[in-house]
Symmetry: C2
Subunit: 152 residues, 2 copies
Amino acid sequence: MPGRSRLANDAWEALLTAHAEIMRRLAAEDVWGEVSMREYDVLYTLSKCRGPIRLGELNRRVLLSQPALSRMVDRLVERGLVRREADSSDGRSVRLSLTEEGRAQQRQAGRPHALGVARRMKAALDDDEMVALRDLCRKLATEREPAGGVRA
Amino acid sequence: MPGRSRLANDAWEALLTAHAEIMRRLAAEDVWGEVSMREYDVLYTLSKCRGPIRLGELNRRVLLSQPALSRMVDRLVERGLVRREADSSDGRSVRLSLTEEGRAQQRQAGRPHALGVARRMKAALDDDEMVALRDLCRKLATEREPAGGVRA
DNA sequence: CTAAGATATATGCAAATGCATATATCCCAA
DNA sequence: TTGGGATATATGCATTTGCATATATCTTAG
């Protein structure tokens, strides 16, 4: 494997490892109380959106299959945390948003969660490093799908 | 939220987003054929180890609950990809390693997978950036658990 | 206007997952 | 040596997930 590809894979592996490591710790420590971590992910994503969004839109930001997400939304609606309304301009679509209760739950779980995240990040990295990490990850996530071929 | 904690959370969120984004693309594109992505993760982890390792050791590197991993190993053993032998020095423990078939499958899935990873990373980042990302992630993953308290 | 194909979400169902707990073994103090 | 507690892995069971596909709606060539 040429050095550059090697490096690319090492970087990806490091990202994977860091992700897994921290996820595990956050899952273990935080008081997720009412909502699971995955549910929190959905609530948090909705909380960041100005208005209602489509299921597919939500799905683009949450790492779950479309059917799994559809059902998770079912449960959250059932529990009164999410509102699911018809889209007047497109009969196939649904508009999803947080209820007040959902927003409250998101905040309640979010506070200690954010503290745990901050504690770990700050323990490992200084400000410049956090900025660098943030920007590199954003760049990575933003990058358009490079055109097809397997041509390394 | 103080600026530094804000920054910490932004960086973490960026990492999460990059992870989800790339994971989704890798899952969609790659020819995972026989093995699922999670199974590949296990096979890959085993392939990197010199000798056999314990289930707990494997579990430390794979983001799955211990019971889920135990059963995934069951299936991989069933399919002849992993060897599970008793540990002579500790009756509670098992020693896990790849079979030849398992190693072959790992390589077969690993090749195109690595190409896909490299293609995406290289499309988004230059060499210096990949080095920086790798090192930051390693630093993050390595950091010892900061002592308890919620004292931000 | 209509039928064929795209798009957005939901469902049936088998498989995988997590939580709680069981089982087997190890370690150590008394 | 023995009993109590730790440690490593496995099991029972309800829930969640993904895959394939169904359903409903939209879009557009003709």
